[in-house]
Amino acid sequence: MVAVESELTTIAAPPGGDAIPLALRRRGGTPRQVFVLTLVGTLLLALFASADLSSWLDRMGDGPVLVPLQNVATEWDGAMQRLNLTRPAAALRAAMHRLLDAEW
């Protein structure tokens, strides 16, 4: 079977090439750095958009594991509010609503 399977020496180039140009792919990181990047991003999001975590867990329904998690998320959101970390998001949201409400 192997003998008759077609072997290619070159691989067809995709239409349009790569989405990320070669020049931008010369520098970069490792899978560990991807994890660090994602983890730091998630932590920052948990600080500044804590309400999202709480509402996402609330939408998942009830359950022996979920209810304690939901309580923790609600307390976390409350703590972030007390620290005023949710204020920038609230200010952006209010500005966007003002823009949406504007009329000609």
Binding site: P15, I20, P31, L45
Partner: protein, 470 residues
């Protein structure tokens, strides 16, 4: 599980952690990615996983059979069987009720009282995409454009890889499978990948979602309630919305794949700056238009069998391309408008040339092509032909009323979306280079703050991507 949600972020965090822990164990990484992809797909409906596994099995077995067959007629038979099986699955799950509805309407017209019952099957999300993946693989094996895939794990990952599973881009086997042969020696392009993901999130969460809820949906729901200015701005709004929605998905998919160490082809390239309809299709949903060109238009004869057959082939390709988008005649009409437009453009080529020559002619050509595309979008977006007709009638006649729905914010979003069509490509490269100078934790922190800002700017909740239903 939608990309712009906390659930997906945590899912990706786990995947990234496992990828980091596995370091150089490439085969295990591939197995983990297959498992993660099936978990991701099961979030819609776990039963769909069996369909995905079936399509994967068909592609794998047929690919091996074609590769092993010595005689051309047997290779052809295996290819035909594989394509039939793939199209059969697509036909049953996506088009069965459409055929029943069309048959019942025809029976009504002929005065027959009997009606066929509907099957009401659930449409598996992404079925059109993984079916096209499977067809392109076995066709490429038949043509000798790709090596036969001998590793079932590679085939499973090619068919199910979660960044592109539900809405593309349609990545060719000849492009993706070699990436599974050995781990990439390239570094992971962290900054460009994050820039694509952040840009995609902004386009989807802010631009597309607000345009949908604030302008497009209400105007298309009752076009007779609005005057010409609102109707015109709503169709411009839809042009921007569908671009920002779909290209956002593609950008996020490309960025996620890059973070996992894989390369994807581009899927969009500022389509609304096209000066010809043909150019529009080289810039819009590039992976689909090139798929249709290579697996439908060219096998039909392409432009090699005379003018009339070229026009016919263009029309047939675009009609079927329209039908691929959805099981409804309005999508066929959308395809017919594009196919007819492409044919007329070819017919007029001796008069208008392949490209506009002067700057003024280029501007005029871009405006004309954009409005032709917008006309076709009316059929694509309208609920049915009646709504599309009312919409076009309103555009043609109702210009006495002022603007009711399209406020300054909606116009600003349309302008933002259109401005993105004309930014120089170097801007992305410069921004990526600037982000790339940050340390990894700085890039992560910047991304986290940017996502929080996008989330705050967007409306509550996330609407599904438009192309999920295709």
């Amino acid at each position: 599980m939608l990309f712009p949600t906390s659930g997906f972020l945590l899912f990706f965090l786990v995947v990234a952690a496992v990828m980091a822990a596995l370091e150089t164990r490439f085969a295990t990484k591939k197995a983990v990615l297959v498992a993660a992809s099936y978990y991701f797909y099961a979030q819609w409906d776990w039963r769909f996983c069996f369909l995905l596994a079936f399509s994967t099995g068909v592609s794998y077995v047929v690919g091996r059979l074609i590769g092993a067959a010595r005689r051309r007629d047997r290779r052809r038979l295996f290819l035909a069987t594989g394509v039939t099986l793939h199209l059969g699955v697509l036909g049953v799950f996506k088009y069965l009720d459409f055929f029943v509805l069309s048959a019942n309407r025809l029976a009504q017209l002929l005065g027959l009282s009997h009606e066929l019952p509907f099957f009401e099957l659930l449409l598996p999300v992404g079925i059109s995409f993984f079916t096209f993946h499977g067809i392109s693989y076995i066709t490429d094996v038949y043509r000798g454009d790709v090596k036969v895939c001998r590793d079932p794990l590679d085939m499973a990952l090619y068919m199910s890889f979660f960044p592109q599973l539900v809405a593309g881009p349609i990545v060719r086997a000849a492009y993706f499978l070699p990436q599974l042969a050995r781990p990439s020696a390239e570094p992971i392009p962290l900054a460009p990948a994050m820039l694509l993901i952040l840009g995609g999130l902004f386009k989807k969460v802010v631009v597309a979602n607000y345009l949908a809820t604030g302008l497009v949906d209400p105007v298309f729901a009752a076009p007779t309630s609005y005057g010409g200015p609102d109707l015109l701005l709503a169709v411009y709004g839809y042009a921007v919305q569908i671009y920002c929605d779909f290209s956002a998905y593609s950008d996020i998919a490309i960025g996620l794949a890059a973070l996992l160490g894989f390369r994807f082809p581009p899927n969009f390239n500022q389509p609304y700056r096209a000066e010809r309809l043909r150019e529009f299709w080289r810039r819009w949903h590039i992976s689909l238009s090139s798929w249709l060109r290579d697996y439908l238009y060219k096998p039909l004869g392409g432009n090699r069998r005379g003018r009339l057959k070229t026009y016919r082939n263009l029309l047939v390709t675009m009609l079927l391309g329209g039908l691929w988008h959805g099981a409804a005649w309005k999508f066929v009409a959308w395809g017919a408008l594009h196919g007819g437009g492409l044919a007329i453009e070819r017919l007029l080529e001796p008069l208008i040339g392949r490209r506009a020559q002067t700057p003024a002619a280029r501007v005029i050509a871009t405006i004309v092509v954009f409005h032709l595309v917008c006309l076709a979008w009316i059929f694509f977006r309208a609920e049915d032909f009646v709504v599309a007709r009312l919409y076009i009638e309103g555009l043609a006649g109702g210009w006495r009323d002022g603007v009711q729905q399209a406020g300054p914010a909606m116009v600003a979003l349309i302008l933002v979306g259109m401005a993105g069509q004309f930014t120089p490509p170097a801007l992305f490269e410069r921004a990526a280079a600037a982000l790339g100078r940050l340390p990894v934790w700085g890039l992560g922190a910047t991304s986290g703050v940017a996502v929080a800002a996008i989330d705050a700017l967007g409306p509550a909740g996330v609407a599904p991507f438009i192309y999920f239903r295709f």
